[in-house]
């Protein structure tokens, strides 16, 4: 097996002559889990710790899975965009396209016992944790079969059996929660860690530093991941942060800066972080990433950044294209196979959307359920305290 040093940033890729060979000589893609080592394009930068090695252990199976999962996430976000414009999704919708490498890279390094908690940009994180497309679309459209039974919406996806503690609306509020999860994991000797994700905007919230101090004091297995997509809604990082080196802001807490558009780099960093957190306590990971859409569907995304910048990133750093090049240069799959895979995924997503459209909206009585624990006997009053009185289920 040839090891190739890849510069995944370059636009040229070597078209192997191998495509001409008969299929019996070519590797069979999906079942090959023999190890390949790939070098990350961008080195890690560290603060108060050693950088992990740039050589990432992976396999053809894994890289192909990255491609498939990221393509699925990308298609899902684009479908969500159309559904929102068709007014089938109401409220707020924050899309993750461009940042998919983070979700898949992280999953590759951890287990479902490790917890993830994130902000409102949570659709792909949910899928990464094993969530089904139809559950995601149902929740987006507020249907009963959604992952939060239609009561949460876009910003509040959860998946208990995969330790996904969800999407949160208030910026930065999920960080202390994440540190609390880490405390529980340490207390229960779970040998698991918690990844608390937040953005560059949330990095200026006071509660982050409070939680970080406590985590460091008590050596909690908490990994704080700053998804630095360079814009907090419309504000660029240089306009909101005195020190935009978010991985260093922990001061006494070690940090690592990672190329968040490279799924393999993300995997390596998360693996490193998990080992570190279990032994030494909290660590901050700053993922240098980018979102193609605006902050939410109400934001065109082009008033605070140029279209050239967006298309530039798409051309040079797109996570799916990187993995596609890897697959082609390592001859793990042909272009046609990848295109077919994308077509299949497109159909998968369309089917999920169609299925979700058919599901019913929750019953009106659900308005009162799950406020308190069941059978708490609490009364809730309707518009006029005399007419509508409900004992909460």
């Amino acid at each position: 097996m040839a090891l190739s040093r890849l510069s995944s940033r370059s636009n040229t890729f070597l078209k192997p002559a191998i495509t001409a060979l008969p299929s019996s000589i070519r590797r069979h893609v999906s079942t090959d889990s023999s190890p390949i080592t790939i070098e990350t394009a961008v080195p890690f930068t560290s603060h108060l710790c050693e950088s992990p090695s740039r050589s990432v252990e992976t396999s053809s199976e894994e890289i192909l899975a990255f491609f498939r999962d990221m393509a699925r996430m990308r298609r899902m976000e684009i479908a969500a965009d159309s559904l929102y414009k068709a007014k089938l999704i109401r409220g707020f919708c924050h899309l993750y396209d461009g940042q998919e490498a983070l979700a898949v890279g992280m999953e590759a390094a951890i287990t479902k016992k490790d917890a993830i908690i994130t902000s409102y940009r949570d659709h792909c994180t949910f899928i990464g944790r094993g969530g089904k497309l139809v559950d995601a679309f149902s929740e987006l459209m507020g249907r009963k079969t959604g992952c939060s039974h239609g009561k949460g919406g876009s910003m509040h996806f959860y998946k208990k059996d995969a330790s996904f503690y969800g999407g949160h609306g208030i910026v930065g509020a999920q960080i202390p929660l994440g540190c609390g999860l880490a405390f529980a994991q340490k207390y229960n000797k779970d040998e698991a860690v918690t990844f608390a994700l937040y953005g560059d905007g949330a990095a200026n919230q006071g509660q982050l530093f409070e939680a970080l101090n406590i985590s460091a004091l008590w050596d909690l297995p908490a990994i704080l991941v700053c998804e630095n997509n360079h814009y907090g809604m419309g504000t660029a990082t240089w306009r909101s942060a005195k020190s935009p080196a978010y991985f260093k802001r922990g001061d006494y807490v070690p940090g690592l800066k990672v190329d968040g558009m490279d799924a393999l780099a993300v995997k390596q960093a998360c693996k490193f972080a998990k080992e570190h957190a279990l032994k030494n306590g909290p660590i901050i990971l700053e993922m240098d990433t980018y979102r193609y859409h605006g902050h939410s569907m109400s934001d065109p995304g082009s008033t605070y950044r140029t279209r050239d910048e967006i298309s530039g990133v798409r051309q040079v750093r797109d996570p799916i294209e990187r993995v596609r090049k890897l697959l082609l240069t390592h001859d793990i799959a042909t272009e046609k196979e990848l295109k077919d895979m994308e077509k299949e995924i497109r159909k998968e997503v369309d089917d999920a959307v169609a299925q979700a459209k058919e599901s019913p909206i929750p019953d009106a009585s659900e308005l009162f359920t799950n406020m308190y624990v069941k059978d708490c006997g609490v009364e809730s009053f309707g518009a006029d305290r005399k007419e509508l009185k409900v004992t909460l289920p």
């Binding site: 109401r90 409220g91 707020f92 507020g142 239609g150 009561k151 949460g152 919406g153 910003m155 509040h156 609306g169 208030i170 910026v171 930065g172 905007g201 949330a202 200026n204 919230q205 006071g206 509660q207 907090g232 809604m233 419309g234 504000t235 306009r239 909101s240 942060a241 008033t303 605070y304 909206i361 929750p362 009106a364 659900e366 308005l367 009162f368 406020m371 809730s380 009053f381 309707g382 518009a383 006029d384 305290r385 005399k386 007419e387």
Partner: protein, 352 residues
Amino acid sequence: MAALLGRSCRKLSFPSLSHGARRVSTETGKPLNLYSAINQALHIALDTDPRSYVFGEDVGFGGVFRCTTGLAERFGKNRVFNTPLCEQGIVGFGIGLAAMGNRAIVEIQFADYIYPAFDQIVNEAAKFRYRSGNQFNCGGLTIRAPYGAVGHGGHYHSQSPEAFFCHVPGIKVVIPRSPREAKGLLLSCIRDPNPVVFFEPKWLYRQAVEEVPEHDYMIPLSEAEVIREGNDITLVGWGAQLTVMEQACLDAEKEGISCELIDLKTLLPWDKETVEASVKKTGRLLISHEAPVTGGFGAEISATILERCFLKLEAPVSRVCGLDTPFPLVFEPFYMPTKNKILDAIKSTVNY
């Protein structure tokens, strides 16, 4: 006239309220929507006092609701500036600025996000004058936040937190119902020598259009207004809810019920006398607000009116409010105190 604020004087001086007693309601002006009216008020405030500042998240380019458009260009980045994403820090910073004799006009992007700043407002802003024996105060502080349902806001873009703040002696809480009111009330709040929380009904930012006089005018605080006269029942509300209540009043009139509608405008301290006089006339009271009914500000109004008008009441005080649930996503139409719920309550109160 009020070169209002002595520019040479270090202390903030405030114009007398007779200024606001001018009958603004009959003046004509340009038709403006709510965010434009607020924008005009802010332009005037910054123009008339060189020591006033507007800051908050994203206000530099005009804000997410365009209320601060043109301010940074006209008054400079030193007076109109963006802050990082930290509400507690923003309000605390504003209190400090106000304590040095400046007018700090803080914007909290959505009222739903005001809670990190709650400690600063309740424990610092409200008590500053009191605990320092009047040596210091942060009267120049005005906090503006869009509140209320918008049709698809969900849990965190639709809340009405006014009741939490009405429970805090030391601050004022003001909610306008329309563009003309908003401009006058906002200028009064900014110039009021006490810290004020000003909630703007976001649903009306574009929806409500009204003739707004172009000059500088103020509408007095703590004065409720009877916007519709009637004899059978008194309805009290504020903000966007008044439009819904007005619809209910029109429908009730078709059924022969004459409704008196009062806009409270200032919730803390509220104009008890106007409401009392009205209820003594009609004998019935109905209060409506979007916030959940239990512990909502309607409870305070109800209890006070009961004390003052017990023998004149013909029926129990009715509260038509949001349900006791978190502000829901898909269930918003069930949660809201709609016109029909109000109409039902009017009828059952009148027929008690």
